[in-house]
């Protein structure tokens, strides 16, 4: 017994070192698996406040660029106003109202909330964006985030009361369902962790007619992203002979270097969709088992 105490007191620095090292590694590997960390909620609030302070100053340097984008967006919205459209006075034409709050039974599926980016990196392999809205403002996990010029940016992965962490498209574990605008073929957009200006579009079969400059949009089959938001344009084609699929290099539509204003978009049907999806899976598995 005495020897044990002697041993501990002799090597106590080394033992502390080992203990803390284990704690650090536990944080690291636990976090990567679940996108969660111990105390992250608290830490998120703290870093969020510091980041907000810094962001207040930094915003001044990109005001002009941001203004230009907002103006452009406003302009395109103005063009959609019903007062821009007149009906021809023939009395014989079918008239379809272009305004969305109609009485013909359409309902709202996506709801958007504005938010400001308070911290953002592009240099890491796993880039996260921190925004100044959290669960207190109705943000939940898995909501889509699009930038002020209407291009996809990422997905919310963690929320605290006033801030949320968004997994940027520039994250090696990120995978977003995408479709080619021209042909409508579905693929998956991923990032190889190399150049923050380019993403990779996978799983487009070689029978599809793709050309440089083709537009890539978020697909209509995604649970998180609403369809039709810009992901980028094709800049390079490469054929993977083993799978017969294209490996397309995509130039990102969002400028990740100076993200400021973003919209957080909620899919109101997500819960139902996911539930149905999971239940279907379960059901099929049960059928498989019973037939065996």
């Amino acid at each position: 017994m005495r020897n044990i105490f002697l041993f501990i007191s002799r090597y106590r620095t080394f033992i502390t070192f080992l203990l803390l090292q284990v704690v650090a590694l536990w944080f690291l590997f636990n976090y990567n698996r679940f996108h969660r960390a111990k105390f992250l909620g608290v830490a998120n609030e703290m870093t969020g406040r510091v980041n907000t302070l810094y962001n207040k100053g930094e915003d001044y340097f990109t005001l002009r660029e941001e203004n230009r984008r907002v103006h452009k967006m406003n302009d395109s919205l103005l063009n959609l106003l019903p007062r821009n459209f007149l009906q021809r006075d023939t009395g014989m034409q079918m008239i379809q109202d272009s305004v969305l709050y109609d009485t013909s039974g359409s309902y709202r599926r996506y709801f958007s909330r504005p938010a400001t980016v308070v911290y953002n990196t592009v240099n890491a392999q796993k880039n996260y964006i921190q925004i100044n809205r959290g669960s207190g403002q109705g943000i939940r996990d898995n909501m889509a985030v699009v930038s002020s010029n209407g291009s996809a940016v990422g997905v919310v992965v963690n929320v605290s009361t006033n801030f949320s962490q968004v997994m940027s498209l520039l994250h090696v574990q990120n995978s977003v369902s995408a479709s080619l605008k021209k042909t409508g073929d579905f693929g998956t957009v991923e990032w190889d962790g190399k150049d923050p200006r380019y993403l990779t579009l996978k799983r487009i079969p070689k029978s599809v007619d793709v050309k440089k400059g083709d537009t890539v949009l978020t697909s209509p089959v995604s649970f998180n992203f609403p369809p039709g938001y810009l992901l980028g344009t094709v800049t390079d084609l490469q054929l993977d002979n083993t799978t017969g699929m294209y490996l397309l290099k995509i130039k990102t539509a969002a400028n990740f270097y100076n993200l400021q204003q973003v919209h957080v978009i909620e899919n109101m049907d997500r819960e139902e969709q996911v539930k149905l999806f999971d239940e279907t899976k379960k059901k099929i598995e049960q059928v498989k088992k019973s037939t065996r």
């Binding site: 803390l20 704690v23 890491a124």
Partner: protein, 177 residues
Amino acid sequence: MSDFLRNILRLAAFILIQVYVLNKIPHLHRFITPYIYYLFILWLPFSVSRMVLLVIGFLTGLILDYFMMTPGLHAAACLLIAYVRPFIINILTPKEASEFNYREPSPKAMQWTPYAVYVFILTLLHHGYMVLLEWLDVGNFLDFLIKVVATTGISLLLIFTAELLFPRRLKFRTNTA
């Protein structure tokens, strides 16, 4: 200014520079991430006990981790250099903490060559261990090697530039004081 206050301010400054300048600027290349925050650990006074050094190292890394959303990564690396630091100092300049004429490691206190070796070894350890952990997670081996070398190079450049540009005004300790 007391040692304690000075080091708190230093920690805040290093973390802010690391988070808001070095991680924000577009990097020269994806392999090259400039790091300077761990200079805080290298600059801690000789008199800090090994136990306290470990705790300070761990917390320094953890603070940066929470900004970078990588809990544990920098903490593990900082902990390693905090643990190794006393050995290196002992090997390079075998003196008791009270025998040094200056309070903290610096070119003046240790001579340029031993100080450069000290910085080099700890930098290499920090980056080597950190990139290794990153590599276990994602990446391939060639990336790992290049990254360690490139990141160590740019960090050393930064540290020696900082050392030359901002010479710390350290008091020469005498027996009368």
